[in-house]
Amino acid sequence: MSDDGFAVKLEGVTKRFGKHTAVLDFDFEVPRGTICGLLGPNGSGKTTIIRMIMGILHPDEGRVSLFGSDPDVTRRTKVGYLPEERGLYKKMKVLELLTFLAEIRGVSRSEGRKRAGVWLERLGLTEWSDKRAEDLSKGMQQKVQFIGTVLHDPELLILDEPFSGLDPINQDVLEEIVRDYHAKGTTILFSTHLMHQAEKLCERVCMISNSKKVLDAELKELKAAERKGVVAVEFEGPDTWIRGPEVDHVEEVNGALHLILRDGADHQAILARGVQSEARILRFDLVEPTLHEIFVRHAGADAVGDAGMPVLAGASGT
């Protein structure tokens, strides 16, 4: 297979719905074996991108490839896809439903049934296997759906907002499963609007705002590159020393002051000034910026709603 090392590759992809542009000139790659997060506020185009990767939507311009070629049925079958909108056959018993989902992806019925049993046990749903899907709680249904996604041992997991709707305990369970798959070499692409989730899990992040890509990098490199930018300080006494040509502006975060530095400025000069001043410095700390802060810095404050959660107006990504 000539997949040039990428599980997923988008080149110059644009998708419009009527007058609304959902995705604009989008380039994006998911190298094999990585965990990649697709981040952005609601309505930024994440789901549209995922649906194009899954061949559900077709790009107006540009090219989408899955394992190095068009996303046809054969290649899509190697993907475990968890859509954003969750659906099950309501009247079907859980174990039968899972066996069916495995079967249509080429797993034999007996093997599918066996694997489903193992997964139901792992997620604490064994006693529900003969219940109808509609009798399960939302969270349980979501777990069942996740099991359906992985039963055929996919090479690539595409999870659209997998954490939403799960309680913190189950979020941790899911996180652990994703890590397991990563350890086995499975490529994972997931979308989320929860930055802290991505921060814990991703090796690579791609940020979208307003249908456009604003950032696409390895998380480690990204953080290293952004690290020099912010200094958290706590002190007693006069505050004149924190102002200077290096500091762009100051924000108060959790009782500490965050000094946001100008590009290329050296925090050392500020520290020197502080030591010489009358102030008593309690903390001088190069802060690793959160993904949220990085996102805001790159996408602009407009993209961020009041709750600190990025929210965007616009049509949903259907």
Partner: protein
Amino acid sequence: MWHNVWAVIRREYLQRVRSKWFIMVTLLAPIIMIAMIVIPTFIAARSDRSDRDLLIVDGSGVLYERLASDFEASGYTVAEEPWTVDVVTDLRQQASDGEIGGFLVLDDLTLETGEAVLYVNERPSLIRRMTLRSAIASAALEYQLEQQGLDAGAMLAGGELRVEMLVDEGSDTDDPQFFVAYMGTMFLYMVILIYAVSVMRATLEEKTSRIVEVIVSSMKPWHLMLGKILGVGAVSLTQIAVWLSMGALAVGAGIPMLIAARPELANLDTVVAVLPGLWLLILFVGLFLFGFFMYSGLYAAVGAMCSTDEEAQQAQFPVMMFLIIPILFVLQAIQEPLTPLVTWLSLFPLFSPVLMWARVAGGGVPGWQIGLSFVLMGATVIGVAWLAGRIYKVGILMAGKKPSLPELWRWVREA
């Protein structure tokens, strides 16, 4: 990728066949049907029994012999009371004492006008009066005709019209069987509609629950549609097979047993006499299958292009019209199966299941027309599959409002 289609068929079939609703309808419907035929016969036979003894006073002297056999065939036990001057007064007394139920008096006037008097304590049923009245009238008429030297039996049997065909065209079946033709048409219409609508609902459910996104990620939409239609089709055949075999069992074993046990149910034999033969049953199943494949494809497309039940209710209407229109011509098709209008209409594939059945069961259709209609329906099944498959492919993953006709056409072209 046929294992996918097979998986869908299997799921669809088992889910439906195992549902309580299916089991109930499949088993109860024929039982209710049989009960509807047997119970009234049973009740009628019972109520007749108390009145089955009939005492006849024959003042004419010629009618009793003729009537006795007729009445006995209708289930009466007859006895003659000789004519005397006081006989009516005596018998009235006996009747009011409860010794006899009632009696029939015939005299010379009966021979001339067919008028007779029935003395009873309880008012007889309309059917009973009709039976007696017509038997008396024809006995009197028969007598008079014989006096004239005519063949009264042949005349009264309704004469005979012998048909000599000048052209070699027409009936492969025998006499028109209105009952079979009409009930069969309604039954065909109903099962095709019910099962085609099932396909639409299933499609809509998959679409609105969004599970279709997961399924279509690993199989072609066309395969999903095919699997659904074949699965539901298999369910419908199962149901029809159960119904037919229960019917066959009832006719073959049940009714003779019932009649043997209760001779008063002999009337049931007439029901058996109008039942369709094997060749008609095969035709019925054939028409159903082709009709189902044509309409379920169309209904699948309707389900795929809608997002809510209400929308689907509206959108299915044009498709349903094609099932309803032929119903308007059913009576005409049964009565005059060879008129050009009915012939052409019945060859139009979407009308064929209903109208061809009405024509064939109703009387006579040349074999080549039946063959042609199956060829045309076959071609339509393929055409519908192509068209519906394309609409389905686009529609099933589309959210939002129902497409307009031009949009629909674009789907078909672009899919």
